[in-house]
């Protein structure tokens, strides 16, 4: 059965993360977890990506970057916030420079809390995002038909 979700390409962006979550994201690519078996590729190019994976909170400096990357991704697309900082700001929530979680600037579909989020929970979030991709594909098709 051919589905859009059979080939989710992933774009990883580090907002203001302490790199804890980033290391866990990269751990998913290692032989132990091997997300490529689901067809997931870490692309690094927003124009090729289906899943936008963000770690760390949003501040004034990366706000425009996150918005631009999101706007460059072609539809259908899904945003996954990885780690508690990306979800709502985490321990940095009250810092003067932190605006909060990723959902302050772009719509987030899946939240993966944790400090740092474990590879298992990241993969769980990504698999949920994959299921969402198919739904979004259908709605994009409807919009195009209308």
């Amino acid at each position: 059965m051919l589905k859009v979700s059979k080939s989710p390409w992933l774009l990883h962006y580090d907002g203001s993360s302490c790199n804890g979550c980033d290391i866990e994201v990269l751990a998913c690519l290692t032989p132990l977890y091997d997300v490529e078996r689901f067809g997931i590729i870490n692309t690094g190019n927003p124009k090729h990506a289906d899943i936008f994976l963000i770690t760390g909170g949003i501040n004034k400096q990366n706000e425009s970057v996150v918005k631009q990357i999101y706007s460059q991704m072609p539809n259908p697309k899904v945003v996954v916030a990885v780690g508690i900082c990306a979800c709502n700001g985490g321990v940095f929530k009250d810092c003067y420079n932190i605006m909060g979680g990723v959902d302050k600037v772009i719509p987030v579909d899946i939240y993966v809390p944790g400090c740092a989020a474990r590879p298992e929970s990241i993969m769980d979030g990504v698999v949920k995002a994959i299921a969402l991709l198919d739904e979004k594909r259908k709605s994009v098709g409807k919009e195009a038909a209308e």
Binding site: V4, K6, P31
Partner: protein, 291 residues
Amino acid sequence: MNISVVSLLLYLILGPFAGGLLAGIDRKITARMQGRKGPSVLQPFYDLYKLFNKQSVVVNDLQDFLVAGFLVFIIFTGCLFFSGGDLLLVFFALTLAGIFFVMSACSASSPYGSMASQRELMQMMAYEPMVLLVAIGFYIVTGSFAVKDIIHFSNIPAVAYMPGIYLGFLWVLVIKFRKSPFDLSTTHHAHQEMVKGLTTELSGNILALVEVSHWYENVFLLGVVGLFFATSDWWSAIVVIVTVAISYFLEILVDNVFPRVKWDFMLKSTWIVTLVAGVINLMVISLIKLR
């Protein structure tokens, strides 16, 4: 029906399927070499389906036209080859297709695209002499540039006369397949530099067309590998399939063993290999032919 027409049609219809399957097998073997499970063998087809279903962000119309030109001329190259056409014309058409691809990356005012197109030109500069030597080698051995005459030349495969040229061609194939030590302009690996090189500005169905072109191109290039082993005997088809599979496996092995090099090392080493393996081999066979 004529055998050349049959093989042409087979290439046109089965080419992308064979190319996609090869890419899938490549990814599976690569994963196993790295101790991973790896994606399904059909993964490249899933990717293609996905790309056709994505929104296509068009940077400019010229780019789409140039990518289409790339696809058309790659198919033209393969068709010429598999219908038994002139080897020189085949390689010139291949170069033209390559130029179309470079131009498509150049047409978008993206720094990554322009950098990658410069690197791609450098790669073409590196592999082009060797590719020409392949055509000249076949001509000196068999007395013809036509693929169908080369196959029907004798019971001894051409590789017996030109092992050096064969090795040189395998070296150059690393560049053509965009395999690791020489994948400067764009790569199929996750560890890319310059975002995604030549395909940075492409998305959706246009990127899918590039994938299909690469599959056609890979099947054609493996066809050239097969030409080294092909003879007029029926069983040579089995020899060709086995040797092509071994050659492709070697390319995957090289891909996984060696890290990416800088462009000057690629250019120097490829030209040295061309000179040592290619030119000396060519001189030896010309001397034998003179006697």
